[in-house]
Symmetry: C2
């Protein structure tokens, strides 16, 4: 059983066949899919699965705090099943390739008190941008 399904079950959240397929599709890959990409792949295992269920299920997993919603470009949201594991993202500006990365420190520690404007700051996520090895070659 997938780790994500285990975490979801702890919330007393009913694991229907549709939800299981969606969770396993999400977790089975090491890239962060869009909702449409998840639908496309999940439908291979469950052809009658509807678009609305995929969107509903992803939104519920985000609300439960077990999946992160990424909005790294302005097009479509992407879903990251590793909500429990602090990490950031590195994106290639040439081809869009995305990697999960870990920084040496927590960015919240770098935000001085007088820059917090009275907010209670709970987290900081970093989006790194640059060129991947392939796209650096293509530049030259």
């Amino acid at each position: 059983m997938s780790d994500l399904v285990t975490r979801l079950r702890r919330h007393n959240w009913r694991i229907t066949p549709q939800r299981r397929v969606i969770a396993e599709t999400l977790e089975g890959s090491h890239v962060h899919f869009t909702a449409e990409e998840i639908l496309e792949r999940a439908v291979e295992r469950m052809p009658e699965l509807s678009r609305a269920t995929v969107y509903n299920t992803l939104n519920e997993m985000v609300a439960l705090g077990e999946v992160l919603e990424l909005t790294l470009d302005g097009r479509s949201k992407r879903y990251d099943p590793n909500a429990d594991h602090e990490h950031h993202h590195l994106i290639c500006e040439g081809c869009g390739l995305m990697k999960d990365v870990h920084a040496m420190a927590d960015p919240v520690d770098w935000l001085p008190g007088d820059e917090r404007h009275g907010f209670s700051v709970t987290r900081g996520s970093i989006t790194y941008r640059g060129l991947c090895p392939d796209c650096q070659g293509a530049e030259a």
Copy 2:
């Protein structure tokens, strides 16, 4: 004349009346507007201005590197005229209020070499999240 218009002119970019109104609208505020919000305000000064021109112009200013495109939620892009001044963003998870903030360190310095996956990393932007003073009160 606005500073943004000055910067844009340096690229040999024609400053038409429409482009001037859009640039001044963008720069005149201290919140980061969406394209629709800019259209709404710019139309007050130039009623015949079209939606397509606003989108085209914003995209061109981003391509010239003088305006930043922010995709902080999955809904609509926001535009930040301070592309030349390194800063990050702090967002209230209650009401969406956004502030520009400055961190004490450059996040790129905190990404170890073995986490770069061969990329040439050019920048890192941080999105801080928390609750603003008003929304902290509403929680209790």
